[in-house]
Chain length 376, copies 2
């Protein structure tokens, strides 16, 4: 498709006590506009999940338009739980393809650290169907993915140590990412001994609560970074509708469609970001997207294949686990890491990366969005 | 533009104690799909404002897709405060124009009646900028529009009685609309004597809290109802940035652009729905969209020009004031009334209506969305 990336920008991820959600969005957007050399913007699309619920702030599209003095251009917020950022990018691409827009500013962000963990946990639960068995049983997101992890151990032979490898590798990458939330090195022992959140997931197995924003400019005009695929799928919102809880249909289906659209296979990708809200989710994404065989992602990681010199350098930004997970920003931050890799400007640069992919998950599998980018 | 409306459907508006937000959305969507004769749907776009804040329910796109068994098609929620419904329709149109989709199901809804008035008022305040003077001064939406009404009285010579004419005419229309929230006839006296909400706006001057949903199918394939214009603009989110508080820039600008896009003037329209969250807002829309001169909308109404045999039959559905205002559904319900008018199937049918317009406002002027439809 004749759609390009002309600019990227993001705030540091972490705690921003003295910045509002607007401040964060505008800071990231300004950086992306600067990087794009200030094209005329025709629309703004904001990715955000819980601005209304925990910060009493909606109308983020118009707020960004006004603060950046972009005139009276159309603007909106899109929501798809943790996939809100990826969906925002896809809506921008459709806007370009429609012929209505030439440059769309996408910005996603979240302000979460001011709220209690209880408040945030409750707000995240809005990403489950109120009428589902798991929500009515009291499952939270860590509990849901903990359940999957236990089943994964049972079926695959993997152990908690293999989840720790995921956490450790993400942290190793984040140490080199100046915008990541957690840059302090860790050890397998520290990960294994950390506070239990929900069996078998400990503190390092869970993505954190984060403030932050990320932004990209999507354009009709040619740049060095081209969209090769933009795919979004929906999946069951309830565990009882899954054939196997270890194969999240939205992940598998989005991968299949994205490879078909791009005319490539998983082995062709030089660098990948997947949605690892929990360590177990990274394993399921590695398998669901075809980088490793079913129930073998833990071996793939153990053998170093997700490292910089492995088959599939993965989550070189630090991933959701260590780069941080300001929900509406996440899909955009993943996308940015791939853009930087293709430009040769990334933290944890992969040598000569020319084809990359970002995969963004929403809910417990309600949505999966994939963008494949190539250097041209 | 080669974009058409192939189906419409909505729930009754009012109180739905025993239906969830999902139930309402699905009921409206099923009606629209039936009306469209069940085309293959390629994407779902949901308009909703406060599902997360007061009902702990997001991921509405995927929920609708799953409940309707639509496969793994893309879905999302869009938010633009009270313009969420109009924005959802516009995103569907862009999706068709992009070439990615042939039929898009749009559904908007809100579940509000279970919550206290205080909770709803607080949630609606998310449609103001947290850093604006009015929000920090404690203004709510009724107070904001009350302020505008007082200024309007001062500048125009209109009185509270002229607002009552708006409320009364809307109610007269709603009496004939089987899906409207308020179908009991009223009198000017009853309107004038009703409980004061915020000076000078009484109970009948304010749109109600409503449960309900509305849905349309937007298609590439030709039907008898064609899109002639789809326009969305952003405006100042803060009163201190307005030149005059009686000219809401988003309304004026959206009208100007829509008439240009359609190649028509306001006098060419056979039937119109405008966003009357308050009686005063209907007056400002009538002026801002060019149906009456500045500060003369009250005379326009007094002279019967918004009646069925007037120059501009207006809000024949009963408007937000009497049809009801389930926020995410509102822009879609307005659009449906215009479709029904052009099909000759509307409550309060305008003879031989062939060109109609729906205008949907978000926040205190953060957004205005206009769709112009023609019978072909």
């Amino acid at each position: 498709m004749d759609v390009y990336v002309s600019g990227v920008g993001m705030t540091p991820f972490g705690k921003h006590e003295n910045k509002s959600l607007k401040d964060l969005l505008v800071e990231a957007a300004r950086a992306a506009l600067h990087d794009a050399d200030y094209p005329r913007i025709d629309a703004v699309i904001v990715g955000n999940f819980m601005g209304g619920a925990i910060y009493n702030q909606e109308i983020l599209g118009a707020i960004v338009v006004n603060d950046l003095n972009l005139g009276s251009i159309p603007a909106l917020k899109v929501e798809g739980a943790c996939a809100s950022g990826g969906i925002a990018i896809r809506q921008a691409i459709l806007g370009i393809l429609s012929g209505e827009y030439e440059n769309v500013l996408v910005v996603g962000g979240e302000k979460m650290k001011h709220a209690s963990t209880e408040t945030v946990t409750q707000a995240i639960n809005a990403a489950m169907d109120n009428q589902s068995l798991e929500k009515n049983s009291g499952l939270t997101f860590p509990a849901f993915f903990g359940l999957l992890a236990n089943r994964y151990f049972f079926e695959s032979g993997a152990t908690k140590k293999h989840l720790a490898y995921v956490a450790k590798q993400n942290r190793d990458y984040a140490v080199n990412n100046p915008l990541a939330q957690f840059r302090k090195p860790t050890t397998i022992e520290e990960v294994l001994e950390a506070k239990m959140i929900t069996d078998p997931l400990g503190l390092f197995d869970c993505s954190p609560i984060t403030d932050g924003a990320a932004s990209v400019v999507i354009s009709k005009q040619k740049t060095g970074i081209k969209l090769k695929a933009s795919v979004q799928v929906s999946g069951p919102t309830s565990i009882q509708h899954l054939d196997s809880i270890l194969k999240i249909p939205a992940i598998v289906e989005s991968g299949r469609k994205a490879y078909t659209q791009a005319g490539i296979g998983p082995e062709d990708l030089d660098v990948v970001e997947v949605h690892d809200c929990f360590t177990i989710t990274q394993l399921l994404a590695i398998e669901g997207l075809g980088f490793a065989k079913e129930l073998e992602a833990w071996k793939f990681i153990e053998e170093g294949e997700t490292g910089l010199s492995g088959k599939t350098p993965l989550n070189t930004s630090g991933g959701l686990l260590s780069r941080g997970h300001p929900i509406g920003a996440t899909g955009i931050a993943q996308f940015i890491q791939i853009v930087l890799q293709l430009r040769g400007q990334a933290p944890n640069q992969v040598d000569n990366a020319s084809l990359g992919m970002a995969q963004n998950l929403g809910g417990t599998g309600a949505y999966s969005v994939i963008h494949i980018l190539e250097r041209v």
